[in-house]
């Protein structure tokens, strides 16, 4: 079953917009997604809670989308909760677990509750954990090494009997690092063997879903967040996988939708779009489970940059099992990331900087800083994030434009190979 008729074409061809290499910020909604959203708005506009025919039609659309998300993750449809996006999914996972613990705490008091996350999470994970700290929780923020990689040993060291849950991302959004989930799974299993129980495990998989096979059951993941608009779906919709048996305290109370965990009339157009996006991702992954197409584009981009532009520094590991296929983070010493982004934008190439350029209060990327990079490296870094929509010619063209732009900025800043410029 597909949510959209085949052969729908977009009105705007991507090439007319420019070379879009900022797919970790958001992606272009696929034409099949747009069609699914349009149909939900135009035809299936009933409330799934209504008893009449329009209501049951909307309910069917909701169920179909839930199945599409579940199939992509290899889980049961009842284990999927639709949210307004990954920020809500992450908040629901973290606060939902924390409140559940508070209202059902074990009779024998184990002391202050403890939770673990990493220093390089997305703000929608870091900020809820900071809030828990303010509310009296002990929180451990695990460090990463120079490549942005987590050492599973650190997790073992941080685990305590009173650890209630942990949250680690699957793929880092700035560097593309794949976190060592198998190793974490192993440590949690060992803990389970020793103590007969283990903390619950949430994974923010926003940058992994659709790019890598993401099957939470294979890794013993209890909760997993994903976002529609990072995988060619619409904005304003996401989902949280909650393993059967895991209890969450709801954040939004009301009509009891989504099994009472997330009240509010379902965003059927968004959910239909997310369902279509998941079906699309499933087809793409079936054809290329290793992400070879993306990886080839990414490696071509890096090879061209490395060959033609002196002094560049790539951040993050390069081994295929440690780096997502679609993200490349590079410093161009002698430039400033923000200026480079605007220059490239003028030339029709869209990329991102991890750090904001502030005159008074520099706010460098917390991820690159946690990796121990110098302010200079952080300030001159650019993130390229690709999609299966990108073509090899685009990559070649982007690299050529990049070379010219970097050369022009460096001429102005007087950068010479081997000389560090403190901008």
């Amino acid at each position: 079953m597909t949510l959209t008729p085949a052969g729908v074409e977009s009105l705007v061809r991507p090439a007319e917009i420019g070379i879009y290499l900022d797919n970790s910020a958001t992606t272009r909604p696929d034409p099949t997604v747009i069609e699914a959203v349009r149909r939900a708005l135009e035809v299936e506009y009933g409330n799934p809670s209504s008893v009449h025919r329009l209501g049951t039609a909307a309910r069917r659309l909701l169920d179909e989308s839930r199945r599409a998300v579940a199939e992509l993750l290899g889980v049961a449809p009842e284990e999927i909760i639709f949210t307004s996006g990954a920020t809500e999914a992450n908040n629901l996972a973290i606060f939902g677990l924390a409140r559940q613990w508070r209202s059902h705490r074990p009779p024998k008091d184990l002391g202050r509750p403890h939770a673990i996350t990493t220093a390089v999470e997305h703000p929608s994970v870091l900020e809820p954990f900071r809030r828990l700290q303010e509310e009296g929780w002990e929180v451990t923020f695990l460090p990463v090494n120079r490549h942005g990689q987590l050492d599973p040993e650190h997790l073992s060291d941080a685990l305590r009997p009173e650890t209630v849950f942990i949250s680690t991302m699957w793929v880092n959004n700035e560097t593309g690092v794949i976190m060592p989930l198998s190793a974490i799974y192993e440590r949690l299993n060992r803990w389970q063997e020793r103590f007969g129980r283990r903390p619950l495990w949430h994974v923010d998989a926003v940058q992994a879903v659709g790019k890598l096979p993401t099957r939470p059951r294979d890794l013993g993941i209890d909760l997993l967040s994903l976002s529609g608009h990072k995988m060619h779906g619409p904005k304003g919709v996401g989902a949280l996988y909650v393993r059967r048996g895991v209890q969450l305290s709801p954040m939004l109370l009301g009509g009891g939708q989504e099994g009472g965990v997330r009240s509010g009339t379902e965003n059927i157009p968004g959910i239909a779009g997310l369902g279509a996006a998941c079906q699309l991702a499933a087809r793409r992954l079936a054809g290329d489970p290793e992400g070879l197409h993306l990886r080839k584009l990414r490696d071509t981009l890096w090879r061209l940059i490395e060959e033609r532009i002196p002094g560049v520094i790539r951040h993050g590991p390069t081994a295929p099992d440690m780096s997502a296929p679609h993200i490349l983070n590079v410093s161009f010493p002698g430039t400033k990331g923000e200026v480079l982004v605007r220059y490239l934008s003028e030339r029709g190439v869209f990329v991102a900087t991890g750090s904001a350029c502030h005159s008074r209060r520099p706010e460098p990327s917390h991820v690159l800083t946690a990796m121990g990079l110098s302010l200079d490296e952080v300030g001159s870094s650019i993130r390229f994030s690709l999609s299966w929509e990108n073509a090899e010619e685009e990559i070649v063209q982007a690299a050529a434009i990049l070379k010219e732009v970097v050369a022009e900025i460096r001429e102005l800043t007087g950068w010479k190979p081997g000389r560090s410029t403190d901008l």
């Binding site: 400033k336 200026v339 605007r342 350029c357 005159s359 102005l412 901008l423």
Partner: protein
């Protein structure tokens, strides 16, 4: 509404001799305009000798607060008072006045209302009468005494304190009417906007230049902003910041502020390529002044205004100021020249530009900021550097292109 008029006092204009009728006319128009913009319905604005009187007629009750805010932004006003206007009665001259004064006093005492008395219940009072209409049968002193006694009889319950009372009941007897008021709000002072002539303000996104612009406007100068934009080295947000600052200044300029935006990137690149690092800021400022002078000519403006402040940064030492200003024949006005930074910040907060100025976007990319700029450049050095620059680029062409690129936007006030 208790009040039916606003009595406007102005100071300096009265000293301006031959220009006085023109200045008064301008002020009257600007009062009218400010009230229109604030949606205060006004029956008429009249010029009475030495005063401007706003007749509010049947304005809705909430109009007064808006009128007070609007009037506090009309340059030239020294102070103003919401007042009850009564017809002049020559028989039983104080009867109606006592009635109106008592109603006002009851508001002030009863409510402990916020405003001129800072929400505190007054503990003393006096009557302060002025008789401009000499056919009125009582002298100022008589009015003071009799109206004071009448208020005491009605039960004001406060002692009279002539030197420093908490509550002053003011009575102005004029031919066209008697005005009774209990509050006096300060105006911004200065001269009516635009009566002095026009000038071009070099408006960055920083704290200083908008304050310099505001102070110039208060001297009656019509200000046109000029912002130098170096996209892609500076961001759209930096431009937006300059625009928002202009939109704050528009609140004092009759609701309009013209901003000229010069695309400065090519000039900046040429300087970066061909001028020694330590002189780049000096030469950049000289180029900005040259462009500003040409924009001023287009605008028929008579002066340049900057937010420069003596010795604040390298380009503002006495040596730098001299070398920079040497490129223009125009007067360069620097209202903040001798200000302390804290005074500038306080002023910026007061006029509402501070929060915009501290938004974290650079107005001049740090790529172009040398580590060690020369603090005491000499004119000969700057001229030599420009000669060397001229060997590589056509400076005249560069400046002409920058002037040509200078767009013009009419900004409307930022909503509050």
């Amino acid at each position: 509404m208790l009040f039916n008029s606003i009595l406007v006092r102005y100071g300096e204009i009265a000293l301006k001799g031959k220009n006085r009728p023109e200045f008064e006319g301008q002020l009257k128009r600007q009062v009218q305009q400010a009230l229109d913009m604030a949606n205060v319905p006004v029956d008429q604005v009249e010029r009475a000798y030495g005063r401007i009187v706003v007749d509010l007629g049947t304005a809705p009750p909430d109009a007064l607060a808006r009128a007070v805010q609007a009037m506090s932004r009309v340059f030239g006003i020294v102070s103003f008072s919401p007042a009850v206007r009564l017809p002049v009665e020559l028989e039983n001259p104080l009867e109606g006045v006592a009635e109106a004064a008592w109603a006002l006093v009851q508001e002030e005492i009863g409510m402990g209302s916020p405003g001129s008395l800072a929400g505190r219940r007054p503990r003393s009072f006096k009557v302060d009468a002025r008789r401009a209409y000499k056919r009125f049968p009582m002298s100022s002193l008589e009015i003071n005494r009799e109206l004071g006694a009448a208020l005491l009889r009605r039960g004001i319950g406060l002692p009279v304190e002539v030197h420093n009372p908490d509550l002053t009941v003011s009575v102005e007897v004029r031919q066209e009417g008697i005005y009774v008021s209990t509050r006096e709000y300060p105006g911004p002072g200065g001269l009516p906007y635009g009566v002095t002539g026009k000038a071009v303000l070099l408006l960055s996104g920083g704290i200083d230049s908008p304050v310099a612009g505001w102070m110039s406007m208060r001297r009656g100068i019509e200000v046109v902003g000029l912002h130098f934009h170096s996209y892609p080295f500076t961001s759209e947000e930096a431009l937006r910041k300059a625009e928002d600052l202009g939109r704050v200044l528009a609140r004092w300029a009759g609701g309009k502020f013209r901003l000229r935006v010069c695309h400065f990137t090519e000039v900046q690149k040429a300087i970066q390529r061909h001028v020694p690092e330590e002189l780049r800021i000096t030469i950049m400022r000289r180029m900005m002044f040259r462009i500003a002078e040409r924009i001023a000519a287009q605008e028929e403006a008579l002066a340049l205004i900057t937010g420069e402040n003596v010795a604040q940064v390298a380009s503002q030492t006495l040596e730098s100021l001299g070398v920079i200003e040497a490129v223009t024949q125009m007067p360069v006005l620097r209202p903040l020249a001798m200000f302390d930074k804290m005074e500038t910040i306080a002023k910026a907060k007061e006029i509402g530009t501070y929060e915009i100025s501290i938004r974290p976007y650079e107005d001049c990319c740090t790529i172009f900021t040398p580590v060690h700029p020369k603090t005491r450049p000499r004119l000969a050095e700057a001229e030599a550097a420009e000669e060397a620059l001229a060997a590589s680029v056509d400076i005249e062409q560069l400046l002409a292109a920058a002037v040509d690129s200078t767009a013009s936007t009419e900004l409307e006030p930022l909503p509050e």
